[in-house]
Symmetry: C2
Subunit: 207 residues, 2 copies
DNA sequence: AATTATTTAGTACATTTGTACTAATTTATA
DNA sequence: TATAAATTAGTACAAATGTACTAAATAATT
């Protein structure tokens, strides 16, 4: 990728994150870079292409972060690390989650990719739950679809905590990131066995 | 309120729900009513006013629905009914929740009202949790801020389940409403005591 | 050095949409 | 009935924004 293209992406990310996707026009991006709109368009034929590119940057950032949080001592620790990693990546590319719905509505390619991604994540999640149960860290299902619904809950909370924070507090800063990370972590707690709960409390203390 | 004003609101709600807020212009509303835009503007000086009015219709619809679900046998039943009532009202005014963030960002008066509303809801929620605990239907907190976080979870799930459904399935119909209602109901289950769990299962059977 | 390809700038356009404004028409009132 | 108030229609405008297009400038290549 050309140096200019990288500069455009970097600046776009900053502006998008700061001002929100729909308050940033091509003109404001090119202004911030002392560059003509024509030039911008030479590198990205469509505005959509910039957003598209940034989305896929996020995806690979998450992939890397998840890999790095793989070498943990326990399965539960892995859950803590993975969750925190995802939340942090979301925050880095927060413009996407400040109005997740608009992004997904306006960018079909992104939406399609996301839908596929979620199918995979759901499989991974099920496998993960299974391994927690086998290790006697998590109890079995007591309700129909209980852990399917748990997955849905994780998904909604992950994708929309930032929107919620913005509406409620009209900002998202590091403090909020911590708060919502804890909230998401705690989501799994009441499903844990006594052993699991002890392990949870140990990990929590170590953070 | 004049007959015409009511007609405009009714038609706007239909179009907003069907096509989404930002795919409905004043022109399309007036077309659907065989009415001039000028006339529309006579009744609602700003487009915002229509949305404003519909939002407050929703608010009072919810108030009424909550009152009606007050006369239940048990506290847990009240939870089931109230939750379902809210979800259904949200569905009636789904245009607001199909892109909740945009609505809240673009309508300051609505956002301010919502913020206040949530402060009250949080107090009500805390009181409700307290009464469940006193009745030995719910266990005490085991984690710091556990039930504050539980409230946040309820809030995010309520406000954004529809957005999530739209992104994932590209539609929201009655089937999805049922599914997400169950998901939200189940959120409280793992915090219940044995007595509480039994009561939950009884109520669930009766639905 | 000459030619070709790449990059940059600048202008213009099309479109959408909320809304302001004026005039006509209908309804209410005295 | 005459006058005032209300409702309705129609036109025009302003502002924003993505993008198409052309020409100039710079870099690369032969």
């Amino acid at each position: 990728m050309s140096r200019t293209k990288e500069k455009i992406l970097k600046q776009s990310l900053i502006l998008f994150n700061d001002q929100g996707l729909d308050h940033v026009s091509l003109r404001s991006i090119s202004n911030a870079l002392n560059m003509s709109v024509g030039n911008l368009q030479y590198h990205f034929k469509k505005r959509e292409d910039i957003i598209h590119e940034l989305y896929f940057q996020l995806v690979s950032t998450i992939d890397i972060a998840i890999e790095n949080s793989g070498n943990t001592q326990s399965k539960l620790e892995e859950f803590f690390e993975t969750t925190a990693a995802i939340v942090n990546c979301f925050y880095e590319y927060r413009f996407i989650f400040q109005d997740f719905t608009s992004v997904m509505n306006q960018h079909e390619a992104i939406r399609t990719h996301y839908q596929e991604l979620m199918k995979n994540r759901k499989l991974q999640f099920s496998a993960f739950i299974g391994s927690l149960i086998k290790r006697n860290l998590m109890r079995k299902e007591l309700l129909p679809n209980e852990y399917d619904h748990l997955f849905v809950r994780f998904q909604i909370l992950s994708d929309f905590w930032m929107s919620s924070s913005l509406i409620e507090l009209e900002k998202v800063a590091q403090k909020e990131v911590s708060m919502y990370t804890e909230m998401i972590h705690q989501t799994i707690f009441p499903y844990l066995t006594e052993t699991g709960k002890e392990a949870y409390l140990m990990i929590q203390k170590s953070i």
